[in-house]
Assembly symmetry: C2
Homo-oligomer: 337 residues x 2
DNA sequence: TTTCCAATTGGAAACGTTTTATATCGCATG
DNA sequence: CATGCGATATAAAACGTTTCCAATTGGAAA
């Protein structure tokens, strides 16, 4: 743990040039004679000089660091997203400061301010819902903010998502097309626009298009976890008119649903058919393997980060509200056609 | 996106004091008269002043930021660990710069240098194996480095782990005590000390203690993934003398093992018994629920970060090589006694 | 009053870069 | 041989804090 304190000035002295020249060499500025460059480079190697990014940040007003606000990194869904973000960030020489918000408004705002204090060059935000106060803070931000897997709720914020309404429609429709007249819908809290407006709307539209009525109690809300999916399905199974087809809002909930069904002695897909949402790695880690809506988390993260770099470089941006394609991956939780 | 550029100097002028005084107020230094403090605080609020952490970092040589090097954040195991780290970091007012190494030596070294360039106050490292070159770099680090879920391989590095040898012993022993004379061992690459030395040693010791011979081909190595666990078990099932008890090096592999067994038409736990390792959330997301060694990932992360803060604060440290307790969580992949 | 000491406050020098404006060098051109 | 210009290099001023040290203030004690 020696203290590494060789500065640009030491290098300059060692190489017999000014610090400005060293700075140019370090930053790959072309206005340096090759012989000088070599001389400086040698001095750098000899001294083991490593530029101080903090000083650089102060002087240049750029930190090549972006903030990432995520509800919970231990959630496989956000972990995948984060990986996509980090990979692209690395590609563009940025680092990531990661913070968990637990979807709490206060933590989100606090985190945002901490990140801004640290002078990040931009921020990627994930969260179930955009609280009004948060949006106010966003508006005051001196750096760009991009939403990932988070709807912008009509605010003028760049965002990367899939078409959740259509995805839910497709999933429900697929179930209906298998002859089901009732389709259960087990998902997360309705306050979150993705559920409350998008998925719910898609679900209802599919029912309507098929001429089927919407039954209030065919829908059960949980909190995205395996346990809540299990519990919701157990509850539903107690009813005589229990739907034999279930669309679950996340894969994790879908696993819970399948196990509840199996625990009750029924078979998937023979007695019940199930479709999930997200296509996390869980989808293939269950028997029967889960048919699910493919939401490309990694890609959403990657595209969000790429979008942020474009904004930071003032590149031309064709569309600030990106909608990535989705599809349904057919596996064994659905009967063959 | 207004440019927020009110500095400590602006606040000083507004409050009619010197910047030194503002600095004291901002940092909670007690040597400020209450009336002055209030005057300054008002000015801060009025101007919406937010201290520039980069400038602060330059002047104080502390960034309240720690680096976290992880093989792959999208791996549920490391995601949990990271969450533990971040929670404790937040508690102590630190932020986390997170980087994925994919366990590549080059990426690890590159990441380390980037982090040191950014002047992090400390680093938490996770990785399957400590490459010699990396350790060289560690030694040169001007800031402390703590290993999490990573053995220090005899180097003098603070680390937080469980006793992997004993855990593997316990798991194997439990299987043997159920009457099995052969126990399959399906785990990750042996180059990683945790597998190659610790778990392997525990497995063998349990066999020896029971007077059972070690069969080379009862051990199959994969890469920690579900798919590799599945594949390994499929291979094992083709043998006439296939062990009827399996100890899997990770839960994810254990799920693969169980599914391979079930796919072949056998039952767990009636025909085969399986014990996993880690107790990730996956363990309860399978039928039968997985009996597994509890490795407290979150805690390891939390303790590692706490250890780092102790080192940073020069607090008394009783033991730099922390070994957290483990236990086996009995679930349904094992028959009742 | 004076005197002194503790409590406050202020001034200014770091901290290690980038960047701008300025100088110098080398050499082709007239 | 002087001129001019592009290519390089230098000097010094930011950047926004913290922090050391000196200065000032306000009372309590003398």
């Amino acid at each position: 743990m020696n203290s590494n304190n060789v500065t640009i000035y030491d290098v300059a002295r060692e190489a017999g040039v000014s610090m400005a020249t060293v700075s140019r060499v370090v930053n790959g500025n072309p206005n340096v004679k090759p012989t000088t460059r070599k001389k400086v480079q040698d001095a750098i190697d000899r001294l083991g000089y490593r530029p101080n990014a903090v000083a650089r940040g102060l002087a240049s007003k750029k930190t090549t660091t972006v903030g990432v606000i995520v509800p919970d990194i231990s959630n496989i869904f956000f972990a995948d997203l984060a990986r996509g973000i980090e990979d692209v960030a690395t590609m563009y020489k940025y680092n990531i400061i990661l913070g968990n918000s637990d979807s709490s408004r206060d933590k989100e705002i606090h985190l945002l301010n901490t990140l801004l204090g640290k002078q990040v060059d931009g921020i990627i935000f994930m969260g179930g819902r955009l609280h009004e106060d948060l949006v106010e803070e966003f508006k005051k931000s001196p750096v760009p903010i991009v939403l990932a897997a988070t709807l912008n709720q009509g605010y003028d914020l760049p965002a990367v998502n899939i078409d959740y309404e259509q995805a839910a429609y497709d999933a429900t429709h697929m179930l209906i097309s298998h002859g089901h007249e009732r389709v259960g819908f087990i998902t997360g809290p309705l306050e979150q626009q993705i559920n409350g407006e998008k998925k719910f709307a898609g679900y209802r539209r599919a029912l309507e298009d098929a001429g089927l009525p919407f039954h209030e109690n065919d829908m059960i809300l949980g909190n995205y976890t395996y346990a809540s999916g299990l519990e919701a399905m157990q509850k539903m199974l107690q009813r005589d008119d229990c739907p034999k087809a279930i669309f679950a809002g996340t894969d994790e909930m879908a696993l819970g649903v399948i196990h509840a069904i199996q625990d009750a002695g029924y078979s998937v897909p023979n007695d019940f058919e199930v479709v999930g949402h997200d296509n996390t790695r869980l989808a293939t880690m269950i028997r029967p393997k889960l048919t699910t809506v493919v939401q490309p988390m990694y890609d959403i993260g990657a595209v969000a980060m790429r979008l942020l770099t474009k904004i930071l470089n003032a590149e031309e941006i064709e569309e600030k509200n990106v909608v990535l394609p989705h599809r349904i991956e057919r596996r064994d939780s659905l009967r063959q056609d």
